[in-house]
Amino acid sequence: MAIRVNPRFIDDLDRFGAEDVQLCYQCGDCSTVCSHADEVFVFPRKSMRLLQMGLDKKIETTLEPWLCYYCGQCSEQCPREAEPGETMMSLRRWLISRYDFTGIARQFFISGTTEIIAVVFVAILTGIFLLYYGFSGGNIDIYDGEGAFLPSTFIHKFDLSVGLAVGVFLLINALRMWYMTMIKGVTIPVPWWIYLKQLYQFPWHFFTQKRYSECESKNRQPLYMPWFIHLGLMLGYVTMLILVMVYIEKFQAGPEIQWSVHIFGYLASIGLIVGTIYFIRNRVRKNYVQYKKSHSTDWVFVTLLFLIVVTGITQHILHRTGIYEWANIMYVVHLMCVVPWLLRMPFTKWAHLIYRPLAMYFAAIRRDVLALQEKLVYSFPINIK
């Protein structure tokens, strides 16, 4: 198969945040210090090389960017200050834009203003819709039950429809990812039983993020901190999503606290608030190499999440203390943050929630396929010379 070189690829990636790729002189220090690089997936140097050569179609089929958790070891070690860690991060952004069939992701990544305008637009639209709905049938002084401003049955339907839209986008993008990496990216067709055999990898990596903790074992930060916080944030987010999508009617009822669901809500809130504050603080302080450069999407990500958590908690307190009018207003503001945030998900970094465990799953399959292939084709060892 002919390989086409895209000489503008490196300039293109500049807009996704990788500025110093051209400095790399291929010493391999980054691969050496990386705790995830192994026999099959050698990175980040190889990705840097593909980038320098402008092989965008080849990079599309690789999984290496997803195997990196950006612990920053490579960037710290790099003798040329070519920022391999940041390059892998930018490649992930670029891959998200490639998996995305709508082209929205690309626009968000290359122009911060576009994203902010889109977020504000969706937020205002949501606000207008909710206020119209609330005033047309409900009373602003009633929070839940008969004649409520935003009754939980309505919110349930509303949530599910937004969730469905997001789910459809994510599913299509994930299928595109599968096509690019597992159909175009492997040399022999993958037998179906390997898919089955490795299926456990997806939930395992989704819920534990085991590999991230391996990353940190070499890092100097105490208590596996970034992994711990990252896991807390992710679990909090998923818990919240389930609560809101499935148990909203029980969740919204009040004013007494429903411990059976609210206990999860409180735990998730702690995870989310600690996580967002931790990430915002690090991005402002730039104290670790992985937080030195912040893309515009990163800022939108953390600020929006922070707003969601703060408005959500405020709304909860107002509701429980009986100030229903303000609780309703805060509810609208909260949803004005939540809806653009959810709709934004398939097109931005948050999509790695799905892509990364999927990539682990695919990587495990590829490893098996390669072993199979080696058994079939190469039966002699390779000598180093």
């Binding site: 002189y25 291929q26 010493c27 391999g28 220090d29 691969s31 050496t32 210090v33 690089a37 192994d38 026999e39 050698v42 140097r45 190889k46 070690q77 003798p79 040329r80 200050e81 390779i382 180093i384 010379k385």
Partner: protein
Amino acid sequence: MRTGVFFCQMEDSRNLNIDAIAKYSANLPEVETVQILGSKPHPDLNIVCEQIKSNNLERIVIAGDMPGYFKPVFTRAMAMAGGNTNEVRLASFLEHGARGENAMDRAKAIVACATMGVPFSLVAVPSGNPVNHATLIIGAGIAGIQSALEIANAGKQVYLVEQSGTIGGHMAMFDKTFPTLDCAACILTPRMVSVGQHDMIRLLTYSKVTAVTGKPGSYRVKIRQKARHVDIKACVACNQCTDVCPVKVKSEFDTGLSLRKAIYIPFPQAVPNAYLVDAENCTYIQSEGEKCGACQRKCPKECINLDETDQTLDIEVGNIILATGYELLDVSRIEQYGYGVYPNVLTSLEFERLTNASGMTGGRIITKTKHINKKTKDEEWIFSPEGMPPRSVAIIHCVGSRNKKYNPYCSRVCCMYSLKFAHLIKEKIPNVAVYEFYIDMRAFGKGYEEFAERIKQEGTFIVRGHSASVTMNNGQMVVRGEDIFNDRLVEFKVDMVVLAVGLIPSPGVEELSRIFGIQRDSDGWFSELDYNGSPTDTDRGGIYVAGMCQAPKDIPDTVAQASAVAAGVLRSLTSGKGIGHLSSLSLSEIEKRAKNIQTI
């Protein structure tokens, strides 16, 4: 001639005020227009052409750090405007040394000469001074020795100043030279001996230059000679003093891997072949004559005087050569290689001593063994006779070199000496595995590429890929690296790691550059006047640089440069005139001379 001056300065990082120079050049005769274009974007052909036509220019001067870079545009513009393309002239600030204190005046003079159409180098020749026929050489490594011999053999007086107790420098520590694998000592020691015995060379070991006054051709130099406590002329190196000395300290010559006494000779072939007392560790001197003094009593020739004091010496010389050499980067700063943590991680210089037949193991390549210090009861790792030869050795190139955090430059010699190490290990130990981790193989000299090929054929594993990790796993060192050509990660169990450490200027250069008023470049090496044209001269007349102190270079290049310096010195001596300090020429003087030449 109607002249236009165009400033195309790359980056205004140096202390040049382009606006002031532009103002000055606007007042020069015949200058019609002065334009400051900057370097980005590239000057537009059509605009320049339009300028030439509208001002009716007959001559263009491009001024800046690298004006030659922009010359093609201006030449084409001149041709398009129908002018004489020979009249596109360059005023290069960088080439003619517009830097340092007199940078502004120099830059103005450069522009003035260019506008008058007179080459700067024709005008800017400082008047010669009568020259004192003695020469001072600082640093007695191979560069200083070579220069000293060249000049002394021409019959001129040389003062050779060396801060340690013996001449020879780093080359005396080496085992073999690349690529010929000649014995380094066999090349060096005869020269050292002839330096020691030469009538025209006055050797000042254990000495330092403290002050310099005067002008080119007649410098007055103050030299502080540390007390050696041993009479060089009387000492016969019988070794009886060392036998009785109770103090043991690490030997500098063996890079701290073996022990010496407080009264010692650096190595058996040292020149001058006499002992010296290390005042900082001598019990007698430290206790101010209260304790010890055993050597003084023992010496059969009565040549030890522990009460001797430092002396100051004043000499007058015409020329000064700086040959201060280099040292290794402190590699314990680079943590991932484990130097100082794992016992069998060695620097290149330590390995040279290990493999050298005059070294602490007599040339046997062995690993360190654990040993309990009798006095302090501490565990320490030393080279002892029962040490076993390593079964596998990893050599890592570019340690601290070509690295933005340490040395951004290439140290030039590491690739070749690493290959040499591989050969020496293979030669001395049968069935040993040697792994070389490299980034780019820089085998640039005569016979070097062939040498590299030969080492590959000898069965050394040459891994294209740098290693950045040396770890200890159950008492076994593991070197991890990426084998880029074979697209895989490799991990080798090794018994010894040799680090090809980058080179930095020797620690005294900062002080010397202040004493002599010599500029240093951003990496700390002495700046030469012009890298291509006069690589041995400095900004200051009558002061030259030779060898590593100018930039990293191998032995052949060092010797060549040292000889070239000698030629420069002898030129000034035979002509009777030394070339003065360029800064001594005033701007008005240069203008006047340029005008005179122009009217001829």
